[in-house]
């Protein structure tokens, strides 16, 4: 068993050392003891009170002896429908965790680093995550174009299907400016939810003073109902690495981090193996492909905090600080990791880049419907016959996806509503929309990271809304007042635990809280969370009235 000193020596001079060092103690001792925190505090020179506070921020760090070995059961919106509460009661010492990103499978259960799935009354099984089904719409894909090829996750398999061709051409024949021009022209925009044009972000990093520059791959896929980044990393890890290397070449970055959510331990192993293979082959590391370009990638595992998917919280988390979002401006492109220029990009965005550079900007633009450029992976789950990841042309009618591609609701049922952007886009009841931001924003929602959860007519929408708001309350970082207090008050009102009994007063309170949260919250969490209640009040007035009559 390694000593405290061994662990400290292993990590203290590495970049972004706090999280891996804490994980090392967590794994060795099965919890984070006071003594471990004292060693880390001293070794990394972090004030003990700060370190203690930061550790308590993450819900997967256990402070109780043996805590890491206790089962964590996903009780996300879809797993609730599958009986997560029963499974929780069945497993000894189990506690709930928010959506663990496998909504197209049975219920995920995490025990130490074993990621299993199961349903109440069945054995838990450690199985690989589902591969995207063969493209049902027969539309040309970008990210998923080769993902189903045998061995694509290995370097040899990746290269057999054209992998690292774009990187080789970039570093040997193109200038960074050439790469930026192609990405700009492709119309690629952030696929993590914010939709900022990728080319513009990279150009800002390239132009910003200060070195070293950093590429951060945001793989903290925490949005309930989103599981697309996991499938990309599990089955096409080299596409993510190649995308990062291209981003580095275009911006002048020399170091990269993949910030991976805690719930994907197997993915960490896949990524680390892929990094080792690529480095061995001279595709990463010092002097890539014999040129003067160097780029190193480090994987850093989160510890359970949805807010760390917000890019500035993520940067604080990497730096070992309390993961509150930062005030902006300045933006990460000029003041990112360690206050230096940094591009933070989502997994899907980065995985699209090799294909775009290989096949050209025009090809990528043409993948979208009509005026829309490119594709978007949709994680579809809930009450449809074929849940899973689908790469759709941007602008595809939602009904085409739901009914033609995914087989519609179970027999005898109809679709009551879907969520958009996981939970962040609230509910959409009128399904006559297209999957693109202009259309969805026009309906008071947004596409975001592309999680769509389907609820059929048997589901209690007030209960679904309560769970959703309870998730946001659980994950609110606590920094800004409207989000910290607002998510709590909205949850209480949906649960009927507190709040006025008069229906009009109830509605006025819920609306006022949501209105102020959406307008003045400090980050996207508090701005988006009230879309749940706003869409509930708008689309389900009868359910709200019934809720207020029974109980409240």
């Amino acid at each position: 068993m390694p000593t405290d000193q061994d662990l400290l020596e292993r990590w203290k001079d590495e970049p972004a050392p706090l999280l891996p060092l804490l994980h090392a103690f967590h794994e060795r001792d099965s919890y984070l003891s006071d003594d471990a925190l004292r060693v880390v505090s001293k070794g990394l020179r972090i004030p003990l009170a700060d370190l203690y506070g930061t550790v308590t921020f993450y819900h997967h760090f256990s402070r109780v002896e043996g805590g890491r070995g206790r089962p964590r059961v996903c009780d996300g919106p879809i797993c609730k429908l599958k009986g997560a509460d029963t499974l929780l009661a069945e497993l000894d010492g189990a506690t709930a965790m928010p959506c663990a990103g496998r909504c197209d499978d049975p219920i995920p259960v995490l025990v130490e680093d074993r990621y299993m799935v199961g349903t109440p009354g069945s054995e838990l099984a450690e199985t690989p995550a589902p591969m995207p089904t063969p493209n049902p719409g027969e539309r040309e894909e970008c990210c998923f174009a080769h993902i189903r090829a045998e061995g694509r996750a290995t370097l040899a398999g990746y290269r057999d299907t054209g992998g690292y061709r774009a990187l080789a051409r970039a570093v040997q024949e193109q200038t960074p400016g050439d790469v930026l021009d192609v990405v700009d022209a492709s119309g690629l925009a952030g696929r993590g939810g914010a939709g900022f044009p990728t080319g513009r972000k990279w150009r800002a990093v390239a132009d910003a003073p200060g070195e070293p520059k950093t590429i951060v791959c945001n793989a903290d896929e925490g949005e309930p109902g989103c599981f697309k980044d996991r499938v990309l990393m599990d089955y096409d890890p080299h596409a993510v690495l190649e995308g990062m290397a291209l981003a580095a070449y275009a911006t002048g970055a020399t170091r990269g981090f993949i910030y991976l959510r805690y719930e994907y331990p197997h993915t960490q192993a896949i990524l680390e193996r892929a990094i080792a293979e690529a480095t061995e082959a001279g595709l990463l590391g010092q002097g890539i492909l014999g040129t003067g370009f160097s780029f190193l990638i480090y994987v850093r595992r989160g510890a359970g905090a949805y807010i760390c998917g917000e890019e500035t919280s993520l940067l604080n988390s990497l730096e070992g600080k309390h993961p509150f979002p930062r005030n902006r401006p300045p933006y990460p492109v000029t003041h990112g990791y360690e206050d230096l220029p940094t591009a933070v990009n989502n997994v899907e965005t980065l995985a699209s880049v090799p294909q775009i550079l290989d096949r050209g900007a025009d090809w990528y633009r043409s993948l979208g419907e009509g005026e829309h450029a490119g594709t978007k992976i949709i994680s579809l789950s809930g009450d449809v016959l074929r849940p899973g990841n689908y790469e759709v042309p941007i602008g595809l009618p939602l009904e085409t996806l739901l009914f033609e591609w995914a087989g519609g609701p179970p027999p005898g049922r109809s679709i009551q509503a879907v969520t958009m952007a996981g939970l962040s886009g609230g509910f959409v009841r009128d399904l006559d929309v297209t999957l693109d931001e202009p259309c969805l924003r026009g309906r008071g929602s947004f596409l975001g990271a592309g999680g769509i959860m389907v609820f059929d007519d048997s589901r209690d929408m007030i209960e679904v809304a309560r769970q959703a708001m309870s998730f946001f309350a659980h994950e609110s970082c606590g920094k800004c007042f409207p989000c910290r207090i607002g998510t709590q008050r909205l949850t209480e009102r949906l649960a009927g635990e507190a709040g006025p009994r008069n229906a009009d007063v109830w509605r006025a309170e819920v609306h006022d809280i949501g209105h102020t949260m959406a307008a003045v919250s400090a980050c996207g969490l508090g701005i988006a969370a009230p879309l749940i209640t706003e869409s509930l009040l708008r689309d389900f007035p009868d359910a709200v009235n019934a809720h207020l009559e029974n109980g409240r």
């Binding site: 006071d34 925190l37 004030p47 003990l48 009170a49 700060d50 203690y52 506070g53 930061t54 308590t56 921020f57 819900h59 905090a305 807010i307 309390h322 005030n327 401006p329 309350a473 659980h474 994950e475 609110s476 970082c477 606590g478 920094k479 800004c480 007042f481 409207p482 910290r484 207090i485 607002g486 998510t487 709590q488 008050r489 209480e492 635990e497 507190a498 709040g499 006025p500 309170e509 006022d512 809280i513 209105h515 102020t516 959406a518 307008a519 003045v520 919250s521 400090a522 701005i527």
Partner: protein, 355 residues
């Protein structure tokens, strides 16, 4: 000042690097805040200082937004005031209702209460769970930790880190479960706390309170403030002496004190009870047959003068050296040095404050 912005319809010049809030405040705009302390880096937590900025989709927090040339800002519109009212009602709903906060708790302790009056937030809206958890078990005799009143504005955490450099207190958990804590959620005396009291004085709700001052909560009378200088050491921290009638009831640091800007140390902040202590000498004592016994002032002066003269005659004037006490008033310190310099003609004078 070359850059200018439009603030509520009037052009205002500003320096590069000023925030909208700073400009609004010096333009006498009454923009409310709860998490703001001008000695600290702005955090943007309470969102009460939001203003309308032309061209921005949502209101912006004025404390964290740098002014840029040509901005058009409105500090108080119907929509902004409505958000401020909702925010105030939300924050009032976090704490138990109807608790009177004695102003002796700390100098900023009335901020939330005053805001609640301004926005007519009486606690009747947004009822629900309360967030604070008081630490009545903390045995320290100086700092009250009544977190039932806490609103998680983080001023205490920030002042401890940014001003005092102690990093004794921090933030535990997330969201509505957020608590202000110390290492391992322990007592202050087991933490890195130096009991400087700055957290107490920046707390806008009285969740942190001055326990020494609060002993005088029941003393009748209005609190009066008298500006003075802390006598304990040579830094020269400005303080406000709090009194009710003739009774000293507390000490608060002066925010505009040039040497301390609102800071004090444990002695300046909390060690003043000896002034009115029962054990203080009220008459001079002289030694008779090895015993100290009360004496008249005349007798005491006579004895002291005799001693000084004897030393001077035998060893010369430079054999005399005086040390004044930091617990004596400034006037006494002045008199002692005058007495030594003018009376004996020597510069051998010092003060225990010259630490």
């Amino acid at each position: 000042m070359s850059a200018k912005l439009t603030l509520d319809g009037r052009e205002v010049l500003f320096e590069e690097g000023e925030t909208i809030y700073e400009i609004a405040r010096r333009s006498k705009k009454d923009v409310p805040t709860l998490c703001y302390d001008d000695r600290l880096d702005p955090l943007g937590a309470c969102r009460l200082c939001v203003v309308e900025l032309e061209g921005a989709r949502n209101p912006v927090a004025s404390c964290t937004t740098m002014a840029t040339d040509g901005m058009v800002v409105r500090t108080s519109t119907e929509a902004i005031e409505k958000h401020r009212k909702t925010l105030t009602e939300l924050v009032v709903s976090e704490n138990p209702r109807g608790v009177e906060i004695d102003p002796l708790r700390g100098m900023a302790s009335q901020e939330l209460a005053l805001l609640a009056v301004r926005y007519e937030a009486d606690g009747s809206r947004f009822e629900g769970a309360t967030s604070g958890r008081s630490r009545k078990d903390d045995p320290n005799p100086m700092i009250l930790r009544d977190y039932d009143q806490c609103i998680s504005c983080y001023r205490c955490v920030r002042v401890c880190a940014e001003q005092e450099g102690d990093y004794a207190i921090s933030v535990e958990n997330r969201g509505f479960q957020t608590r202000i804590t110390t290492e391992f959620a322990g007592f202050l005396e087991d933490s890195a706390c130096t009991f400087c009291g700055q957290c107490v004085q920046t707390c806008p709700t009285g969740a942190l309170g001055d326990l020494r001052a609060l002993q005088n909560a029941d003393v009748p009378g209005e609190i009066e403030k008298t500006r003075s200088i802390c006598p304990y050491c040579g830094v020269g921290c400005s303080v406000d002496i709090l009194s009710k009638d003739d009774k000293l009831v507390g000490v608060q640091p002066a925010m505009d004190g040039p040497a301390n800007e609102g800071a004090l140390c444990v002695k300046g902040q909390f060690a003043w009870e000896w002034v009115q202590h029962d054990d203080r000498l009220k008459t001079p004592l002289v030694r008779k047959d090895g015993e100290l016994v009360p004496a008249s002032w005349d007798e005491a002066f006579e004895r002291a003068a005799e001693g000084f003269r004897g030393v001077e005659a035998k060893h010369g004037r430079h054999a005399i050296y005086a040390v004044a006490s930091g617990r004596a008033p400034h006037e006494s310190a002045y008199s002692v040095q005058k007495f030594v310099r003018a009376g004996f003609g020597t510069n051998y004078i010092d003060n225990c404050s010259r630490a």
